[in-house]
């Protein structure tokens, strides 16, 4: 009996901290990660620049084509993980579909996909990592758009109605979710051709 009690005490001494770790992981670590992931995913915002740049008009064999760029992306990717360490939400399979309408006609459309948004790898030294976290907090990029230039040849529009749909898979520490945003609004068209 005495030996059995001693053995049980030794087993408890030996395994106790690890039982504690698993119990805390289940009741504290994972719920905390879930909570912070969900909050971070919820707090991301889409970004569409209200100015579309007309960058180029050129002839093609049966007409002419216009190139535009639209600055778009996802904001507020930065979040603090379960230990308070700053991370950047991964963005996978980002897609943007948009069309610019002027006088009832579609003057350009955008159909863009990006497999992964840039993010720090997590293996950098701190002095490199921290600026990267801040840099990628708001990640935007110039998405190329195309349209029939004949529609704007006579009168280059200064504004258009933009319909857009954006989606992406947002990946946190442990959770991921596909988010989709749609909206429409008037955008300015800036002629930046040289």
């Amino acid at each position: 009996m005495y030996v059995a009690i001693v053995i049980l005490i030794f087993i408890f001494v030996y395994l106790g901290p690890y039982i504690f770790v698993y119990a805390r992981t289940e009741t504290w670590t994972f719920p905390r990660i879930d909570e912070r992931d969900i909050k971070a995913i919820d707090e991301t915002d889409p970004y569409v620049n209200p100015v579309v740049n007309l960058t180029k008009v050129y002839r093609v064999h049966d007409g002419s084509e216009a190139n535009y760029t639209l600055d778009t992306g996802i904001l507020n990717r930065k979040f603090l993980d379960w230990i308070g360490f700053p991370l950047v939400l991964e963005v996978k399979n980002f897609s943007l579909k948009a069309s610019g309408i002027y006088l009832g006609k579609v003057i350009f459309h955008c159909n863009y996909m990006e497999a992964d948004f840039p993010k720090p790898t997590g293996t950098e030294p701190w002095y490199i990592y921290q600026p990267l976290v801040d840099k990628y907090d708001n990640t935007t990029q110039n998405v190329p758009c195309y349209g029939d230039a004949s529609l704007i040849e006579k009168n280059t529009p200064t504004s258009a109605l933009l319909n857009w749909t954006m989606s992406g898979k947002l990946v946190g520490d442990k959770n991921d979710r596909i988010r989709t945003w749609s909206d429409f609004g008037v955008v300015k068209i800036a002629d930046v051709r040289r």
Partner: protein
Amino acid sequence: MSGGNPLNYLTDKEGGGWFGFRGLFAIIFASAQFGLFIHWVTYTGVTLSAGMFYLTLIPFMIGIVFTGLLPGKSGITPKTFLIIAVWSLLAYSLYDWARVPMNLLIGVPFWDHWFDWGASILGSTGTLFTYENLTAGLIAHILRGWGFAMAYYLLVRRVTLFSAFVFAFFMTVLYWVVFPIFVLTDALPPWIWWYTAWQSHMAFAVGLWLAPKIFTFYKKKDQKDEAVPTTSKIFPHNATKDQGDQAVATTYHRKWKTTLYAILALQGFGLAIGFIIFGYVVGSQPPSIYPVFGYGKPPPIVIDGFSSYYWAIPSVIAGFVFSYLAHNSTRIGCANCGHINANKSLFCNQCGNSIVPKP
């Protein structure tokens, strides 16, 4: 020291010195740490699975084969090996127990790296936060703690509280240096991180010292004449008997005051190193707005008004004061005339009375 020539610790004719099989075995069984070390210093460029394969598994296999091939001569035999392998279980258990209240009270997430290690060992993709990764990382952590305890018992010929604290302080300093410099999430740890690292390693030291005592306590019940508080044969005068390749008991005793003062001196000098490293790490990193650790309101990285460099000064002073007290406590007072004699005196310099110290 063992009482004989102190250089025997480095080399001895039978190969049991630090430059002999003891040192070799200590390196081999501390190798689990080297696997992690190469993983960190390459900023995870070398995966932990590769590190542990080449720098842990292969050395362990060589070590076990060596143990069988070299019985007795170095004082390390399969039997002594088995005994210290069992002793080594306690130290890192106490180490982890000491961190448990730091999580409950302050929120120090001491197992956060176990997920990273597990993912690197298993080659997991996707989220780090799975029980598979946690378990693999936990086993790697246990292996390192056990290996370091093995290294201690292999290096020392007599387990003393002081040598256990010296070894654990070496581990603490290694921890203080490697994690903030090479591990991203520990780049700017708050002071509580430094404290937790220190106090848990001190618990490790207590475990190193305690394990042979527990073992001896139960061993005595079976074999009254064969206590086993040391790792191998002891040749000097204070050994009760030579049992060849078996661990033996000794009558060696250091005064508790000497041990206490020596440990406090060690803490003084060791914490001075810690404060200097702390100051260097905090001062050399770009400032951060991110409060890592804790329940959302972590303790400050630096307590305003107290530069950590300055804390090193009283620590060094305390180190010298306790060194002096430790040295003085080994001196022997003559029961006849009260004269204080040097610590190895057999007769009083003043009155010639016999002053053989009581154990």
